[in-house]
Symmetry: C2
Subunit: 309 residues, 2 copies
């Protein structure tokens, strides 16, 4: 069924729980895309090359080392090889990339380093820097704020082509822990209630300091007034995102904000910002990742290297 | 080894994870105390009577039904029998207690109902009402605020012998989830660092709205500057308790506060309040529970019942 393809290079987004790869043609077109659950979280160092080959073996050309440019937790200390954080301020991606040890001569793997910040608060990112680079690749002279929703959501200020500051929030992980593993799990549904989200958002924004009391309040409302499970789940999401937006106010108030993502989580952040009068633009996550990885490759390799024997 | 004892009645504190019982003499003295891990969380309705008998069988007298007065999650909907919440404002304990179904004629079990509040925010408690009653038993005319640290810590305002308002915080459960099950677990020790706690407390008090960002900051500091695991754990505790104290300010500012508990958690709340210039008194938890259960029994039973055949 599948046609034989020989990509110019291969893009890889290798997170804690998933591995996604794209075969990229010489003209930059996406020739194919695949993914697996071989995330960094479940792999020992020796497991990375086999996990990658399991997805891309038939994309490789005998006698030639095809470049694989990877971003994400694959470069963490517990990953394939540690790609040391680059300290701010700096462009979101830049040389050198970190080579990963491979035994297959058809492979050449390089990992994009994450970013770190020590002031005004210690913070790190790994993977998001590539998406920020992708946003900048589409608008090189743009200054503004990139919002990256996720397990550990991030707000990054970009100016003159550099990331100058960012801040991470544990919002996504807190939602998963609270909905799945806390006392609140007893009253959580799988569905959604948009009005419940809006109510939680307003509560979280108005009194972010009361978050831990509001959380228990969801349980109490479930016991006392039969709060609908879908409403409880949406309220929880709204409370947490609302508290994040309250704390992140300096990042979005009067700023030009781009939200990376097209899924439901990004839509919730956009909805929250609209409620504050901020019309954030949206950037598709896959396009941002691929543009960022292409940018990282172009900066890292000398011009002749891509075609070298 | 053990002497035979015939308690006048038996006090039981039956929470989600533990069952604690005390044999009480006719003069109110504690004749014996025992406990097991037969918490409500692991029992089906039919399992409660056997779990209780496993601890107290030799305390019972053939031919006589000994009263067991129980408080805590044993009275939850998923417990032995549901003891419906009593709505505020009301005395912390009061008739009627809820009888639990027993088959052993030597047993008569009654459960203390919890308290509920619908305004200004939905909230519930189950077990803490008994400790509040114990605090009031020692000082019947006292007006003030009772702080009850725990998995779901509570602040209760008491006036003219009634609980008029209270608020619960998910602080303790959040600490357990974050320290044991979030990304922060990678940098958590088993020890403690008092200065780390104080630093977290100050951060949490000063900017409670930034809690979810500060949480991720602990992970970042671990990666970037090798934050000591014991310091990280103490900072996490301080951040969460600090955020609670910030949100609970109306409960303690200029108020007469009693903290129930003699353990480390209660000491941390006391330390946090002292940092704000509030010298809260401490009430031992066991004494409060037993005094509250005795109070519940005295209110629930007609004067002759205790000695009835």
């Amino acid at each position: 069924m599948s046609d034989w393809i020989a990509p110019d290079w291969i893009a890889a987004d290798w997170g804690t729980s998933r591995l996604r790869v794209w075969a990229i043609g010489a003209d930059g077109a996406i020739l194919d895309r695949r993914e697996s659950d071989a995330g960094m979280g479940g792999l020992a160092p020796a497991g990375f090359e086999p996990a990658l080959l399991a997805l891309i073996d038939d994309w490789l050309t005998p006698g030639r080392a095809t470049d694989v440019i990877a971003c994400g937790m694959v470069g963490a200390r517990q990953g394939w090889v540690e790609a040391a954080y680059r300290p701010l301020p700096c462009p979101p991606v830049g040389p050198p990339l970190t080579p990963a040890p491979v035994s297959d001569p058809r492979l050449s793997v390089a990992i994009v380093p994450g970013l770190s910040q020590t002031r005004p608060a210690a913070d790190v990112m790994r993977g998001e820097e590539t998406q920020i680079a992708g946003v900048l690749a589409a608008a090189p002279n743009w200054d503004g704020v990139v919002c990256l929703p996720g397990t550990h959501s991030k707000w990054a200020e970009v100016s003159a082509g550099e990331v100058v500051s960012f801040r991470s929030f544990l919002t996504g992980e807190l939602f998963a822990l609270l909905a799945g593993h806390s006392v609140l799990r007893h009253g959580m549904g799988d569905g959604w209630d948009e009005a419940g989200f809006d109510a939680g958002l307003a509560e979280g924004m108005a009194r972010p300091e009361a978050l831990t009391a509001r959380l228990f309040g969801l349980r109490a409302e479930g016991l006392l007034s039969g709060l609908a499970p879908d409403t409880a789940r949406a309220r929880l999401s709204g409370l947490l995102i609302g508290a994040e937006l309250a704390a992140a106010k300096p990042w979005w108030l009067g700023r030009d904000v781009v939200i990376v993502g097209e899924g439901r989580l990004a839509a919730l952040y956009a909805r929250g910002l609209v409620a504050q009068g901020v019309a954030a633009r949206r950037a598709p996550a896959e396009a941002a990742t691929l543009a960022g990885l292409a940018r990282a490759r172009s900066l890292a390799l000398p011009p002749a290297a891509a075609g070298a024997p």
